[in-house]
Symmetry: none
Subunit: 528 residues, 2 copies
């Protein structure tokens, strides 16, 4: 792999500045290992000294983290105005972290120097020179992030260039130009980067934010102009609109521009890694995310489906497996026979040539979609529908006699209680069970499990993990119908089922029952 090009990850530092992301030390250790798997060259772990969590992270990383590909970097800033790097406690904190690489944020925008730092142009240059050379003298590799670079360059080009030179001359390995406010467009970035290289000869990096929706494009433009160090975050986490999505950048550079940045097997792990990291941050993954999103290769339009039958490449820009993703056919009212056939193939039911069956299944799908069902969001319900139409069961583990759910509250400041009772026939017997929960659906779920667990102990593996409800009635006064989507997990994978009815609890019950049915069927459980 090219050792001259840096893939510099700042998920745990800049990414952590996103609203709602709060990483513990344990979280950071886990994320660091995922990033190492991905093959990035640098992992920016945080701001030790300034941030106690980060101080602890670097301390523990020294003994607990065994990075094989990436080098750990500590982030901090140039020394205080009017002081000296050698006696600056913040700078000392960076050294104390033990990180072999230290990245300093430095001002390069005259407005910020004078109004935010309230110092002089000369002193700011001295802060850069002093801090960089001090750290280099201490044996560290130093990178410098020139903050607000592009805005500063447009305001006062000479001063911005002077900051770059100061950093580079003092021994910084890379000077990363930062579009801190995210307001740049690709052409501006390209021209500025080319000019800076021609004027200073410094080795440049690029750090973009997505405020104009161009973070990735700006990063690529910088690389095309000669930058050899890209910064970004996994899943595009970051302040405001986020940082450049590092996986998208790497995939583009490697798969589109033919650069060798990470071994292909690592890129094939990208989808798994991006999802694993979103589990740690507890931020729901974005389905439409380029390359690694769950929907990135999901095709819905009927036109597209019939072409994909001929050749998947007709509607895909790359082979999804190159980034560890999969192609998916979505079944909806836009579906045609080809969609149903491909979907069936996906689940192991061969309907090639079975025109009558295909037509019947398609008609059923369209009828239900008219009523509010959306199979493109509920793959498992579609599979059950298909199996029921072609008789490829089992698709029913219990016969439901009746159910009811009661919620009541007995005072002004008392919590409400929900309780449900179900009466079913399963395993040759009639079972009555009652469950409690934080709502009618949760209570029904508990009751159903209690009813079935004796006959189907496998049900204990299944868990309801997501519940979404939508009232399908744009104009009040007309008959409302409720659509419920339920996601069930068996600990390894998960699936979504749908229910539609006039009554919201009934719609939920449908989705619930199918969710459990699907789980048992997929687990190969026989009807008892």
């Amino acid at each position: 792999m090219s050792t001259d090009f840096h893939v510099y990850d700042t998920t745990m530092r800049d990414g952590a500045q996103q609203e709602g992301i709060n990483l513990s030390v344990a979280d950071k250790l886990v994320i660091a290992r995922h990033l190492d798997d991905l093959g990035v060259t640098h992992v920016e772990g945080g701001w030790p000294g300034a941030n106690p969590t980060d101080t602890e992270f670097f301390a523990r990383a020294a003994t607990e983290l065994d990075l094989r590909t990436a080098t750990l970097a500590a982030f901090g800033s140039t020394r205080k105005a009017g002081g000296s790097a050698a006696s600056d406690p913040q700078v000392q904190g960076l050294l104390d972290s033990g990180a072999p690489v230290i990245t300093l944020v430095a001002k390069s925008h005259v407005g910020h120097v004078e109004r935010a730092l309230r110092t002089t142009r000369e002193e700011n240059l001295a802060m850069i020179t002093d801090t960089v050379s001090h750290l280099v003298g201490q044996g560290r590799t130093v990178m410098v992030d020139t903050e607000h670079f592009f805005d500063g360059y447009l305001l006062d080009r000479e001063y911005a260039l002077a900051c770059v030179r100061a950093a580079s001359d003092a021994g910084a390995e890379v000077v990363a130009l930062c579009d801190t406010n995210g307001g740049m467009l690709p052409g501006q970035v390209h021209d500025a980067v080319a000019d800076v290289i021609a004027s200073t000869g410094a080795r440049l990096g690029i750090h973009c934010h997505n405020d104009t929706g161009c973070a990735v494009a700006n990063t690529m433009a910088a690389v095309e102009a000669g930058a050899t160090h890209v910064q970004g975050t996994v899943n595009g986490y970051g302040e405001r609109t986020g940082n450049a999505d590092l996986v998208t950048v790497v995939a583009n550079l490697q798969l589109k521009l033919g650069m060798d940045l990470v071994e292909p097997y690592r890129l094939q792990d990208a989808t798994r890694i991006a999802h694993a990291i979103s589990e740690v941050t507890n931020h729901p993954p974005f389905s439409r995310q380029p390359y690694v999103g769950a929907g990135a290769f999901a095709h819905k339009a009927g036109l597209h489906a019939s072409a994909i039958k001929v050749d998947p490449d007709l509607y895909q820009h790359i082979e999804p497996k190159a980034v560890g993703n999969d192609m998916r056919m979505l079944v909806s009212d836009m579906a045609g026979r080809a969609t149903v056939e491909l979907k069936s193939r996906e689940i192991g039911v061969d309907l090639d040539g079975e025109d009558e069956t295909l037509a019947r299944v398609l008609a059923r799908v369209k009828t239900l979609e008219q009523r509010g069902y959306t199979f493109d969001a509920a793959d498992a319900s579609f599979e059950l529908l298909l199996r029921r139409e072609v008789g490829a069961g089992p698709t029913q583990y219990a016969q439901v006699e009746s159910w009811r759910a009661i919620t009541d509250v007995r005072g002004a400041d008392v919590e409400a209680l929900s309780e449900a009772t179900v009466k079913v026939h399963a395993g040759g017997r009639r079972i009555v069970a009652t469950g409690e929960g934080n709502g009618p659906v949760n209570a029904l779920d508990e009751a159903l499990r209690q009813a079935l667990v004796v006959v189907y102990p496998e049900i204990e593996q299944l868990e309801l993990i997501d519940y979404r409800v939508r009232i399908l009635d744009a104009a009040h006064g007309t008959d409302a119908v409720t659509r419920v989507l339920i996601e069930t997990s068996d600990g390894t994978t998960s699936w979504t089922t749908i229910g539609v009815a006039a009554n919201i609890v009934e719609a939920s019950w449908q989705a619930l029952l199918d969710g459990i049915t699907f789980g048992l069927m997929r687990g190969g459980v026989p009807v008892r």
Copy 2:
């Protein structure tokens, strides 16, 4: 405004190809009006004839939709191979819709012509010429979307250009080049667009997808190369990774490149419109979305906060109000106090200088927000909170003794029934009332009205018009909390109240009760 530049919205056609988005006719009518408010020049409503929902949409639009800025467009395709446009039913369906503009998708990639359509290069050109001239002859304005254009152009430039010429020569007003698979990078798009303009002189449009994370940048690159028609969707909806986000594109072109596309007051409405449309699609808005995302101008880093105190422009690339958004400080109680003060002034409660009260209210808000309340989305609940804290009532019309809701079903194919009973004290008496509905919340609403109507007949003016529920639990296993937003109307205006609780019915009850309380208070109804 420039009448020569087209802002062409395809939210309801290409956007609807996104997984999980299913628009009813009513949904489309609502969205069309929002798009008209935004100031787009064209609204692509769907594929009438091919899609029954769309056929109905165009039929109803003819009498129910009064667009003041936008022109309605119908989407369809060139005629079938080997036939004639004049006798092609699909083409006739487009004419029958009555739409003044018809946009045809046409193949321009040799591979697709031969393998997907299974016809010849010549016949495909004839399909374009025939269909375009037929529709132009029928008095329609015709646009042509050249599908897979850039891939086709790279494979066989001459043929791709021939397709563009065929469309243009037959009378198409615009030929929109489509990056259908989304695999292009900005430089490629720029060069291709410039070449096509130089070689054919056609008026070009651009239609991009986000598979390389460059949809917006590709669109801008095309405009810089001479395209005068941009296609996109609100909130970037679309197949796979989505289409170019039209609001981001318009904001970039207008605020960064100084183009006059929509009146400034319309762009200032962009945040509201983008959110309103996401309510219709029932897709949670993306907080990090450029310009209009809830987090687009939310600042967290300490460095940023102290600088912003000096001058917001130091950390923002534009003034958020230009797109109807707001700056938010995520750590700063000074900003918090100001918000409360401004809000109080708005409702006629003067808290200027009342530091202790402001602090108390702020503390209460923060406590509740920690628990899941989001007052940004529930103005009426915030007003009630404020009035309760400062004693500016009335804020309670009834004391609730108890309530309960039962839903049950008595067989396998019988509809579920929901019934609720409430026991309250109002107007000096104790009232027990029962209501029925299509769910526990609807039944509680009915019961509550029945209970209060004798004492407060004004309640008959009020109606629950929207109900949204979100389970606030990203990681199953932790305690789930449900947030419910209820919109109530008095026929003239409407307001939103919020409820948060572990139990979903209880959360709904809170929001319901506050919704009615607010309505009575605002109506000046005294406590009886």
